[in-house]
């Protein structure tokens, strides 16, 4: 599936919840089901330090696709991390570079990607695109 389709899937999924509490409950569940991040990789180069919460991000490049793993110490942040991983992981670098994050806005979680939140998410998106750019330039 392409990024736009995955994003639409998430929009549809969140459209089921009318109450903010249910939405956050779902987000928390998503955070909990994020595949585990290797504890020994929770170090310097993978750490994105926000003022409020920390995010860890790692990426590999396989068969023209970027694979992301990520984690956060805050569960709501982790829920959004899981959405970003779901949309971006397994995509070709150029698609990641070109992608926008309108779906986060559409599911009503825009404030989480605001620079004032300082939860590391905005920096994480930047870092994901940076990985994609590096892998793109590595291509033969």
């Amino acid at each position: 599936m392409q990024i736009a389709d995955l994003a639409q899937q998430i929009i549809d999924e969140f459209a089921l919840f009318t109450d903010w509490m249910d939405k956050y409950e779902h987000l928390i569940e998503l955070g909990k089901s994020l595949p585990p991040f290797d504890e020994k990789n929770k170090t310097g180069p993978h750490l994105i330090q926000g003022c409020q919460s920390r995010v860890w991000l790692d990426a590999t490049y396989e068969d023209g696709k970027v694979m992301f793993t990520a984690d956060s110490d805050a569960i709501i942040t982790k829920g959004i991390v899981s959405l970003l991983v779901r949309v971006f992981s397994g995509q070709p670098p150029q698609a990641i570079i070109d992608a926008n994050l309108d779906f986060i806005d559409q599911i009503g979680l825009k404030e989480n990607l605001s620079p004032t939140r300082s939860n590391g998410l905005l920096a994480m998106v930047k870092q994901m695109k940076m990985y994609a750019l590096v892998f793109l330039n590595k291509q033969p």
Binding site: W20, M21, Y24, E25, I28, C51, Q52, S53, R54, D73, A74, I75, I76, T77, S118, N119
Partner: protein, 405 residues
Amino acid sequence: MFTTRTIRKDFPALAQEVYGKLLIYFDNAATTQKPAPVTAVVNEMNSLTNGNIHRAFHYLGNICTERYEEARETVRTFLNAPSTEEIIFTAGTTAAINTVAFSFGERFVHANDEIVLTEAEHHSNIVPWQILCERKGAALKVLPINDDGSLSIEKLHQCLSKKTKLLCIAQASNVLGVVNPINDIVATAHAYGVPVLVDGAQGAAHGGIDIQDTHCDFYVFSGHKLYGPTGTGVLYGKQKLLNEMPPYQSGGEMIASVTFEQTAYAELPLKFEAGTPNFTGVCGLKKAIDYVQELGWAHIKKQEEKLVRHAIQRLQEIDGLHIYGTATPKTSLVSFNIDGIHPTDAAQLLDKMGIAARSGHLCADPLMHRFKVQGMLRFSFSFYNTTEEIDTAVDALKKIKQLLR
């Protein structure tokens, strides 16, 4: 006799709904809401009575100058400072500390000297001193706190020496709320010949300080944490020190005469007020001080003590909740963590429930390291808050705990 119900009517911000719920504002240690009389003064001056101060001979300029200087007298009385020449208006606590760090540092701090501060300082009372030390080849010396957030005078003795040029200490910690024994601390430092800067950011709204009782050498605070406008603040400094210190910023207002060869500086306090000051804001700050003094410190303290006592008692109902800063006396704030819950998650969910709390390192990283935590949650109360609001917040926390389990 004032009731909280009538007082709240002066604060329109408290009557608004956020996310469809009546706002519960528990972030007063970050900034307080402004009473209507304060915004009225600022609005009136912005729309009508606006003339630049200390230089114009016209009607508006004269009125503004008079009001600005009246505000200085109000601050002097508030702090019981000996003279208005010792009251300098700044943009806030941070600007005031930076002024001292630069000017006092320039005059009095040299290589191998030491600046002493405590483990519980706000970043604003750490970083300017760090930069000064780097510039001068001096060193920071850190006075550790006890587990309950209190300070011991014995440990202070160990930090002070002939090398110490200044002791910088918060009147009360913005994280722990613990009020430091400023009189004893100043007396101890003075016995070593060390002047003391007291960071009153968390003290001004709870009664301020009596300069002639504590004998501190510098006292700084922000207007916006004292029900006044943002961008206002005060630096009190002992005249003898201020006279010896070079100006910090330079430009208009702070000069006596200028030629291209030489400039003679103005006398205190204008020497430290370069450029057009925030005179509308300062007049708003005067109104804010008048407002709280009319309520009376006795009333404010009684209310705030009641609130913090109630909060501590109710929060302890929650399993796995830890409160930091158990020493007394304490300002009206409480910082805590709940086992297994990231403070950011809790703050985000509280926000959705209409409760404004603070989370994160609270601008005190060294203190977070001291307690080995990533961050904390903080409720900080003002006299306009109610015990019912605290009950609502505690119920919300219980709900959040369920949700995050």
